[in-house]
């Protein structure tokens, strides 16, 4: 058993979300403040109770100092701005609480569709500031790059090659998320899709098509974390952070990765399993990241739900035809909120929020009866692989 002194010592006590859309006209700050005030009120707290701020470093999202000024949060003793993908910020916030750097911390993310995400985003003059100063990365350069998003199309090609696989499991992941999003009022994409829709979807970076890629959205999510002791006195059922980790290997450049069976996800799974008292047999709800369908395939195989290359068979064997979604062993739904593919591309904040709501028993028509333990595996293969086990107190 690996060292994990923070086990069950920090709780998520508040969540807030604006919901996600592709037609929003509000600023990133407005979205962040909406989500933050909801999360703090959800916890039964006020601005005066918060003395830590972790602002997820999404492009255009407000800094901790702007959040403090806008929310009237004073006497802040800890603040930071980690890179996107949710667990960098959750881990930072919980470590700050556990170390005593602050007592109650707000974690906030707001995301805006960047100008290249859609025609409406491109036509919005207020989004031009998001790419000022060359934030376009490889987009302004030559096409011969597998940096960032293109990396997943590249490694999807390798997956299909090595395992003589078809795109069918990719499509099933997309259908699963859309089916689940139908019951989530926060989700941007709620019209049902079929496997035929998947095969007919526009190819973008072959072998990945439009429905393999998460949907760019505007929206905000926020969380409040505090000590497990304090959480017991607050108004919501506390959700304890049982174990977390992030994972990185040395050869993490997108085109230099050793292979599909050795990357960041493997570090996460080994570390998380060593830190946790709970594992797959204990899990009631599962939230694998799905910025691209191949990432979910990777998590299913690398977490040990099935063997490497076994996802197609596993998904087929655990598919619920009646509802059109994945139900592991007939009881564990996957991405009950619709994931990044259908709720919206939040880089994992949606996965954590939905896990909290399920563990509180507040998911309404989506509620998994008696859900006590959630496994959340945000991030991809290269430099943002992450894992968390959350449990009801």
């Amino acid at each position: 058993m690996a060292r994990n002194p923070i086990k069950d010592r920090v709780a998520i006590v508040g969540v807030g979300s604006t919901g996600f859309s592709r037609s929003n006209q509000r600023s990133a700050l407005a979205l962040a403040l909406d989500a933050s005030t909801q999360a703090i009120r959800d916890a039964g707290l006020t601005a005066a109770d918060v003395n830590g701020i972790v602002a997820i470093g999404e492009p255009g999202a407000p800094s901790p100092q702007v959040l403090a000024a806008s929310l009237g949060i004073s006497d802040v003793t800890y603040f930071s701005r980690p890179a996107p993908v949710v667990m960098f910020s959750i881990v930072d916030a919980m470590n700050a609480v556990y170390a005593g750097a602050c007592d109650t911390v707000l974690v906030c993310a707001a995301m805006l569709r960047l100008p290249w995400a859609s025609r409406s985003a491109a036509n919005d003059p207020f989004r031009r500031v998001l790419v000022r100063g060359g934030g376009g990365g490889a987009r302004g350069g030559w096409p011969e790059s597998v940096a960032q998003a293109a990396a997943y199309a590249a490694w999807a090609s390798r997956y299909l090659h090595e395992y003589r696989a078809t795109r069918e499991p990719f499509g099933r992941i997309a259908v699963n998320c859309r089916t689940n999003a139908r019951a989530n009022p926060l989700a941007a994409m709620r019209d049902p899709i079929t496997m035929d829709d998947y095969y007919e979807a526009r190819m973008i970076r072959e072998p990945l098509c439009m429905l393999d890629m998460d949907v760019p959205v505007d929206g905000g999510d926020a969380f409040v974390l505090t000590t497990a002791e304090r959480a017991r006195a607050l108004q919501q059922p506390p959700v304890l952070v049982h174990a977390t980790t992030v994972g990185l290997i040395d050869r993490n450049d997108e085109d230099q990765l050793p292979g599909l069976t050795r990357h960041g996800q493997h570090v996460v799974v080994e570390a998380l399993r060593a830190k946790s008292d709970l594992w797959l047999d204990d899990v009631d709800v599962y939230y694998p990241y799905d910025g691209f369908t191949i990432i979910t395939i990777g998590w299913l195989e690398n977490t040990g739900w099935c063997a490497p290359g076994g996802a197609a068979r596993f998904i087929a064997d655990n598919w619920d035809d009646e509802t059109g979604r994945l139900m592991i062993d007939g009881r564990i739904p996957v991405n009950t909120h619709g994931g990044s593919l259908s709720e919206g591309g939040t880089r994992g904040t949606g996965h954590i929020r939905e896990a909290v709501v399920q563990l509180r028993g507040q998911a309404g028509t989506r509620q998994v009866p008696g859900a006590k333990t959630a496994l959340v595996t945000p991030g991809g293969f290269f430099f943002n692989s992450q894992g968390a086990i959350l449990r009801a107190a």
Partner: protein, 144 residues
């Protein structure tokens, strides 16, 4: 060529102290990959120290140009590029594993063949194409 001229000519790529010799090689039609002169380990992209032995004796060294397609994307859309019509013919982006060392790869494209015939596992060799007025290292089917 001065450092300023080099940066100017390669406006589309990040030229700095660590990558300048890699891009200077392109002007001479030579693909130079960083190799540790002490332990022999190759690394790419260019970085100033050997990650295996921490030697600073890293030397941009010409490679044979022979390799194998390891990853392959066909872009149905992408940044505007002269001579590329993504809709008419998806543009191949290939990650080629070089013969010099397992896992040593470079990302480029494959030319001199029907794009539909490119596949993972295909042996390829280095060739040079023009890209925005500068030589660009591409690959073609081996022996073509």
């Amino acid at each position: 060529m001065s450092d300023a001229d080099l940066v100017e000519r390669f406006a589309a790529v990040p030229v700095d102290q660590d990558t300048k010799d890699f891009y200077r090689g392109w002007l001479d039609h030579e693909l130079r990959i960083d190799r540790c002169a002490d332990c022999g380990r190759w690394q790419h992209p260019p970085r100033p120290m050997c990650p295996a032995c921490w030697s600073w004796n890293v030397v941009p060294t010409p490679v044979s140009g022979r390799g194998t397609v390891h990853l392959l994307i066909r872009l149905h859309q992408g940044p505007p590029l002269e001579g590329v019509d993504y809709a008419a013919s998806p543009h191949p982006v290939a990650v080629v594993e070089l013969d010099e060392q397992p896992g040593l790869r470079i990302t480029s494209t494959v030319v001199n063949c029907d794009p539909r015939e490119i596949e993972i596992g295909m042996p390829v060799e280095l060739t040079w194409i023009d890209r925005d007025g500068v030589p660009f290292p591409a690959f073609r089917p081996a022996g073509a």
